[in-house]
């Protein structure tokens, strides 16, 4: 069947528009498969794997757009290309006719002079200029853009801090402001916990778990992963903590981050000790436990997982409902071991490996930390230990944990929380490997995310099981759905869809990770280690 690539030189549409057009293009009569993408290395790799790349496409640069088509016969090609061209033109127009569209920051500010927040997601090299124009007008900024040079970040944050303004990000995937989801965020109850997060999906998971155990979020402020690096110095971490300390609705403050650089850690720790009085949960997703100084140890607790941070918040705010909360999101070691044994029952002796396919970077990092304690370092494209870096991120070996949101999978593409293509391809590959025992996946709900992340993977999960079963094997598939019933996708519906294709669902990422290790090792994990992980990561 003919495959054709048409290249449009120096033509730009954003990855989300292109993803929608690709989906629409697949429905054109006579078209068997289609992808419309910018010509980045990642996109060409994906086209190759989909069997949609030709020499013309191969030669496109990242400023060019590739229209890749597989058609029933050549005669269909001309019409299909015209139809796509039309879609591309439409993508530049307003979605609803009555909506006013603005083409510059100035005209938008004129139209909404009392704007109090700007959400900026332009390519990183332009982010400073756009964000600065808002700050100069006294407007707070949520900066979603990645690849913002660190000197731009420092400039923006210093300018903002001096004027009492927020710069959330760059690279802030998630914020919850006044109960509203900004960028990728879930619909959670409004309440007493104020969260500062240098870890996007960390904020999502912890806000969702708080909701599940009956607590709410006053504000969830994403500050971007770089804020706690020494180059930035924790400028916004400190400003956000200061604001939450002063905010009457916030009764407990939580900080979620990978461990900050040493100097920043000191600065933040000093600020917490000297400038805050509210109960505090520090969740540094790191190798060793951060220990708050003695004089504040009663007020400030330290957690190493999002699961533990949630329960620590319950302990401080509603100590009487601690046990009920714990039961909502955890099962005992005995129960989990029994479940793992049941899941592993039909596995072949050679099926020993774990393959985790994450869309959420913080959840992936949490997994790495737990595996390290339970079974030692695992392979990854974003490992804890450089020795365990996968030589080829597209190919798993041994026990492997993949962050599909990393650069090599996202350059010029929509994030895997929105575009399931890469994970579908990867799941099939993992299923072909006879050494794989268990595959685990996260499913991120909320605004910004795919409209039906579970539904988008169902066929791929069925196919993966089919591949294994043709080879006389069974494949254990685990899932954690990070979401609430109030999310547009609905938690229960998403979980039910996954269960319908035999996915074992876990209430938290941490619990899923422990379960996967028990399955892959057939329960043979050192008891002391398991007990320690249970205490430290699951608070049981």
């Amino acid at each position: 069947m003919p495959v054709s690539n048409v290249v449009r030189r120096n033509f730009f549409r954003d990855s989300l528009q292109l993803m929608r057009i690709s989906e629409e293009a697949k429905r054109i009569p006579g078209v068997l498969d289609a992808a419309v993408v910018m010509g980045t290395g990642t996109n060409k790799e994906v086209l190759r794997r989909l069997g949609l790349l030709t020499r013309e496409g191969e030669e496109a640069s990242e400023n060019d757009m590739i229209l890749a088509l597989k058609v029933e016969d050549e005669s269909r090609l001309g019409d299909a290309i015209s139809a796509i061209e039309e879609m591309l033109l439409k993508a530049g127009e307003a979605t609803e006719e009555h909506e006013q569209r603005y083409f510059s920051v100035e005209s938008a500010l004129e139209a909404m002079p009392d704007a109090n927040l700007a959400v900026v997601s332009v390519p990183g090299e332009y982010a400073r200029d756009v964000a600065m124009r808002f700050l100069e007008r006294g407007v707070h900024v949520h900066l979603f853009s990645d690849h913002v040079p660190v000197e731009h970040e420092v400039e923006l944050k210093r300018y903002a801090a001096e004027r009492g303004l927020l710069v959330l990000g760059p690279g802030a995937g998630t914020s919850i402001i006044n109960g509203k989801a900004i960028a990728f965020a879930n619909v959670v109850k409004r309440g007493e916990v104020g969260i500062v997060a240098a870890a996007g999906t960390g904020l999502q998971e912890v806000s969702v778990l708080l909701d599940r155990v009956g607590l709410g979020v006053s504000q969830g402020l994403g500050i971007g992963g770089n804020d706690v690096k020494s180059a930035v110095g924790g400028i916004m971490a400190v400003e956000c903590i200061r604001a939450l300390e002063a905010d009457a609705e916030t009764r407990l403050i939580m900080l979620v981050s990978k461990p900050p650089d040493k100097e920043v850690m000191k600065r933040i720790a000093r600020f917490i000790a000297e400038e805050t009085r509210k109960p505090f949960v520090v969740c540094f997703l790191g190798e060793s436990e951060y220990k708050p100084p003695k004089r504040i140890a009663r007020r400030v607790s330290a957690a190493r997982s999002l699961h533990a941070a949630t329960l620590d918040a319950v302990k401080k705010l509603k100590p009487k409902s601690f046990n009920t909360a714990r039961k909502k999101i955890t099962i005992s070691q005995t129960e989990l071991s029994r479940l793992a044994a049941r899941l592993a029952k039909n596995l072949k002796p050679g099926q020993r490996h774990i393959r985790a396919l994450y869309t959420g970077g913080t959840l992936m990092h949490e997994a790495l930390l737990i595996y390290r304690e339970l079974i030692g370092d695992v392979y990854s494209n974003a490992p804890l230990n450089e020795k365990m870096r996968l030589p080829d991120p597209y190919k798993s070996v041994g026990d492997a944990v993949i962050d599909l949101g990393e650069e090599e999978f996202t350059a010029g593409r929509a994030h895997p929380m929105i575009d399931p293509t890469i994970r579908r391809l990867r799941l099939a590959e993992e299923a072909r490997d006879p050494s794989v025992a268990v595959v685990l996946m996260d499913f991120m709900l909320g605004y910004g995310a795919h409209r039906d992340p579970a539904g988008a993977m169902l066929e791929a999960i069925r196919e993966a099981r089919g591949i294994a079963s043709e080879d006389g094997r069974e494949l254990v598939v685990m899932g954690h759905v990070c979401g609430t019933e109030a999310d547009p996708q609905g938690l229960r519906e998403q979980e039910e869809k996954l269960r319908s294709v035999g996915v074992e669902i876990f209430p938290t990422n941490a619990l899923m990770v422990v379960a996967s290790a028990l399955v892959a090792r057939r329960g043979k994990i050192n008891k002391t280690k398991l007990r320690k992980v249970y205490r430290s990561f699951l608070r049981m």
Binding site: A115, N116, V119, F144, E239, R242, A243, E249, I418
Partner: protein, 58 residues
Amino acid sequence: MKEGKTLKLFRSELKVINVGLETFYEALKEQGVAAIHVSWQPPPKLEKELRDVLDKLI
């Protein structure tokens, strides 16, 4: 008070200007947030080159 402007944001109704990915604008509208969207395009390359030349000249 340094945190005054942020506290004011926490107590106000959100009024958002979205620049870039339209999906974030749509999500805000869906949640009933007052929002407007700036349809952003990178400045044309030629324009940048021209500007760089002009910057050098001036």
